[in-house]
């Protein structure tokens, strides 16, 4: 049906959709800037691969195990970094990402610098599609619930949220836990598709890539993240023709995008229930809000 090349792009798009939407939960909705998302992915990738190789778990079990372990580390990183905000949290998550990478680089069981090879190719396009749909479905359910409102309140004004009776500590950890869970799921799919993983597959740049997808798509909008993930996965492939200038174009697209539409392809506020005909007034008011903030 598809050539192997297109199949690979589609699978990568699917995995990146999982990564971007789950990061959006942490950064876009809860407002916790995280640049260590690839670390959760790597934990899921290694854990799922090792579960298959050493424990002989079925594919589904391995994926779940990887996701669960990533979620555990998500909570673990969530607890000590709770008091940090903005840039400081970003630095802490960056540090966490590097620590995870270096640990994998030095552990024996993960193959160290050689990487882990011989993972069976269990990930099919069907698995990826089901996993992506499941991720989107679960995140949507969470965001439309009471929990979702609490997360948005934490982003908008933590002090005010706290005085509304929202346990901000709990919800921030929850966001990290759930976000990491799905990142781990994406990691498991990744390792069972490429069959070979190396600590450097999940470095700082990968985390930045995820963040770019979220920001390009629109912070605080799940559908935006899907488009962002698809676009930033596919565009570099189409730019392959221009060979040497590829990264240049890629960068230019990002810069242009931020200049023309800083709120992302679909902005978080725009996806909200707006009465018909009010859209333009809404946009104008948004500009006013931005200027006065």
């Amino acid at each position: 049906m598809f050539s192997a090349y297109y199949l690979q792009i589609i699978i990568l798009v699917g995995i990146n959709i999982i990564m971007a939407t789950s990061l959006n939960l942490i950064t876009g909705f809860t407002g916790q800037l995280s640049i260590g998302h690839a670390a959760f992915m790597s934990i899921g990738a290694y854990a799922a691969a090792l579960a298959t190789l050493k424990l002989g778990l079925p594919f589904f079990g391995s994926l779940f195990f990887g996701a669960l372990l990533a979620a555990f580390f998500g909570v673990l990183i969530g607890v000590p970094t709770l008091k940090l905000k903005g840039d400081y949290l970003a630095i802490a998550t960056l540090g966490f990402g590097e620590i995870v990478r270096i640990v994998f680089l030095n552990l024996k069981i993960t193959g160290g610098a050689v990487g882990l090879r011989g993972v069976p190719k269990n990930t099919t396009i069907l698995w990826v599609i089901v996993a992506a749909i499941l991720t989107i479905f679960v995140l949507n359910r969470i965001l439309k619930s009471r929990v979702g409102r609490a997360l948005v309140a934490v982003r908008e004004d933590e002090t005010a949220a706290e005085s509304m009776g929202i346990n901000t500590t709990y919800y921030k950890i929850l966001a990290f836990g759930v976000g990491a869970f799905f990142a781990g799921l994406g990691g498991g799919l990744f390792s069972h598709y490429f069959q070979y993983i190396h600590p450097n597959s999940f470095g700082f740049l990968r985390s930045i890539e995820h963040l770019c997808m979220v920001v390009l798509g629109g912070l605080g909008n799940i559908w935006g993240s899907i488009i962002g993930a698809a676009a930033l996965t596919a565009i570099p492939e189409f730019l392959r023709a221009s060979a040497d200038y590829r990264q240049l174009f890629y960068g230019a697209i990002l810069v242009l995008m931020m200049r023309i539409r800083p709120e992302g392809i679909i902005s978080g506020k725009k996806s909200r229930k707006i009465p018909p005909g009010k859209t333009s007034a809404w946009r104008g008011k948004n500009k006013f809000l931005k200027a006065t903030r």
């Binding site: 948005v152 309140a153 908008e156 005010a160 706290e162 005085s163 009776g165 901000t168 506020k269 006013f288």
Partner: protein, 234 residues
Amino acid sequence: MLQVEKISTFYGNIQALKEISFSVEEGEIVTLIGANGAGKTTTLLTISGLLKPAAGQISFRDKKVDGFPPHEIVKLGISHVPEGRRIFPRLTLLENLEMGAFTRRDKTGLQDDLKYVFDTFPQLKGREKQVAGTLSGGEQQMLAMGRALMSRPKLLLLDEPSMGLAPMVVQGIFRIIEDINRQGTTILLVEQNAQLALKVARRGYVLETGSITLHDKASSLLKNDGVRKTYLGE
């Protein structure tokens, strides 16, 4: 209802509250007046758990509450309208109110609370979908108070409700404060506008650089020479 005993609160090394004690009885409006930096806001933040007192005790309805996290204190029935309103500007008016009812889980109660808030603040009615940041200052103040009322508090802490509002609007807000009190909510009011605050309150405390220097019936404070000179500009 609320007993504050010898509370001391610090910002780092700076002592903002020096062993202050006061009380609020059920059904009262009590006001704390004082100049900038006297510790009025700090007092409210300490009661609502956003700041932790270094020493002293706070009890609410005979239950010790100092050291509790803010979300627990809200559940006990103390609701705080923070200084500068702190509404969620990018959420709609209705979403803001729903946040105020976060501690409640029953749907029917939510409808009753919404009705109560819209009856108290008729100006907010019909604008449920408006983005809160586009409301006027007075409306934002009403929204902040409405949001706090959504949790059906027994004690409402109001921090500078007159801040940055036109005199006419302030009059309206204070009429509503009296209304809310008449319907059974006890109020602790912090104000720089001492004149207005003392007119609606039953008792008043004067706060100066972290200590309470005067306590009396509000009507007597209004006549007190020192208060008139310092806070009423006469």
